[in-house]
Amino acid sequence: MKIPDELHYTEDHEWGKAEDGMLRVGITDYAQNELGDIVFVDLFPKGTSVAKGDPIGTVESVKAVSDVFAPVDGEIAEVNDSLEDKPELVNQDPYEKGWMVVLKMDDPSQVNKLMDSQAYEEYLEAEAK
């Protein structure tokens, strides 16, 4: 299970990458593995304001649908359009090409409340029990 060091993580298995006041968001390797082959990604449009914990879209596989939640307060600045035609990117490359949205963060210090890679790894181990 890949858990890149430089990212932040949520309990709902989203990852966040801080980029100059912006946060690139996607779902983790664990999440895509649990869902199975992803067939559809439905994301809220640019300009949508979200609070931490609000849904920003859904991810659908053959056997399940999952909500994706905003890790921080902010506004959707960019949406990964290539997921419309190639939802499988989320399975193949969840942390790079499979990114979902970029949020303009209301308060960049909010990311510090998220888990780091170590904490997320421990969280996954605890969940498995």
Partner: protein, 489 residues
């Protein structure tokens, strides 16, 4: 999301799509033509013929005959599908109900006899279930559930009580919460105990003044009889709530125990399960609803009335009814078949069904529980659940087991349900299976268990002997091609 509409993309086919055999002038059907057709200028006739395939009768027959050969049906072998009760469908039910087809529902003289039969079915179902009143109008189990929950909703609303919640065990079938949502309820899942029972003590923790009902399945989807059902009913009634029962598993109780005696207030039955009407590849089914007298006035309209002269009509007098749930009288043909089944069995035959169903299931369980993981040691009735925990050690999943069974000529059991068991295999043979078929199934499962240890890779490639090999459900969902049309809108 745009779907690609080019259906010719897979050139290797078992049987070409019907439209590919179409050519103008192939169909030479002679239509009944009792009338001269004059000019009818007030009729908005289209200039084009309807966009339909034009094929000869011979090609129609060959096409659908070949398609039928690509199907597995109960006449081929056992369908051990848990909670589906895929029992043998007696042919006399079909034959006896044949004259129904020419009857129009607005033909009062003919319908009197039909309604008399339906009234009799209502009465019999009431006796079998220990309930007071019945409606035959719901066209399927889920439709019956929805109707039942709307009846409860009306009862609760008329009492002026703000009860918005329904409690549903974690072993429940997906239609249970879905039906509640449409009936305007919020749902709350309650856990079954470690031994598979729903307990009064767990219920107590979730019970409150906002609870309208609990939906229970008995036996539950683990095949276990809910032994605390009377205490559960008592708690609910004391709380002013109702007990709804999903009757999908009634096969284990026929003539042996009655839901009405257990404290159930409202329930549905599945005629296409317990009462042997054919599944049809997805219907038509029928899901009659039964209630205790206190809820009878909320049942859907119309009602069947017996006149003094012994003729039967419909009554629309029901000010507290939830209204209509179907445009006509539900799936009448299915109801008549179910009545024929009940009459062909008679009062002695029904409990024999339940007994044989439980013996067949018990036998399979005794032969398979060493080879496969049995997550619950609790005694079961007409069905039981295994898991893939042992086989997973070699990388073999429930999906692999299911697909491999097809190569042995079996339809797989219900898989990945109930959700409380990881990798569940729910097995219900029903009472109509001969011992040879049960043993054949055991042998197949034994071989699969063996192969999972010695050569697991082989099972990943299953099925190999079916008309098509493992189907790519991901491609289907990513591309969404739902018709043969090349229409781009």
């Amino acid at each position: 999301m745009p779907g690609r509409t080019d259906v010719a993309r897979f050139p290797e086919v078992r049987e070409p799509l019907l439209n590919l055999r179409s050519a103008l002038g192939r169909n030479k059907r002679l239509i009944p033509s009792p009338f001269d057709v004059p000019e009818m200028p007030d009729l908005p006739v289209s200039t084009d013929l309807a966009d339909l395939p034009d094929v000869s009768e011979v090609e129609t027959v060959r096409h659908f005959t070949r398609l039928s050969s690509l199907n597995y049906g109960i006449e081929n072998g056992m369908y051990p599908l848990g909670s589906c009760t895929m029992k043998y469908n007696p042919k006399i039910a079909e034959a006896a109900s044949a004259s129904l087809r020419s009857v129009h529902p607005a033909d009062p003289a003919a319908m009197s006899h039909v309604l008399e039969c339906l009234a009799l079915l209502q009465k019999y179902l009431g006796e079998i279930c220990g309930m007071d009143a019945c409606s035959l109008w719901p066209a399927a189990g889920a439709h019956g559930e929805l109707t039942g929950m709307m009846v409860i909703r009306r009862a609760v609303d008329m009492k002026g009580e703000p009860r918005t919640k329904v409690l549903i065990p974690d072993t429940a079938h997906g239609t249970n919460p879905a039906s509640c949502t449409i009936a305007g309820f919020a749902t709350e899942s309650i856990p079954s105990g470690g031994d598979g029972f729903l307990t009064a003590s767990i219920l107590k923790e979730h019970l409150g003044p906002d609870v309208a009902a609990l939906m229970i399945t008995n036996p539950n989807t683990l095949g276990i009889f809910e032994r605390e059902i009377r205490e559960i009913a008592g708690l609910l009634h004391d709380n002013g709530s109702y007990l709804y029962m999903d009757g999908a598993n009634l096969n284990a109780l026929l003539g042996v125990a009655r839901p009405g005696d257990m404290g159930v207030d409202c329930m549905h039955v599945n005629l296409h399960k317990t009462f042997a009407t054919p599944h049809g590849g997805g219907g038509p089914g029928s899901g009659p609803v039964l209630v205790k007298s206190g809820l009878a006035r909320h049942l859907p309209l119309p009602l069947i009335k017996e006149g003094e002269s012994g003729s039967y009509t419909l009554s629309w007098d029901g000010p507290e009814s939830i209204g209509m749930v179907h445009s006509c009288l539900g799936n009448v043909g299915v109801c008549i078949r179910a009545l024929a089944y009940i009459l062909s069995l008679g009062p002695v035959g029904l409990p024999e069904v339940a007994q044989a169903a439980c013996i067949n299931a018990g036998y399979l369980k005794s032969r398979l529980s060493g080879l496969y993981d049995l997550p619950y040691r609790t005694p079961t009735l007409h069905e039981f659940v295994l898991s893939d925990r042992l086989q997973k050690e070699n990388g073999i999943t429930t999906m692999d087991i299911a697909k491999s069974l097809m190569d042995f000529g079996f339809y797989p059991p219900t898989i990945y349900f109930p959700l409380v068991v990881q990798g569940a295999l729910m097995i219900e043979p029903t009472e109509t299976e001969p011992l040879e078929e049960l043993d054949r199934f055991v042998n197949a499962m034994e071989e699969i268990a063996e192969t999972s240890r010695t050569n697991p890779e082989e099972l990943h490639g299953a099925p190999r002997t079916t008309p098509v090999s493992r189907v790519d459900e991901v491609w289907a969902a990513r591309n969404i091609v739902l018709t043969w049309s090349k229409r781009e809108s």
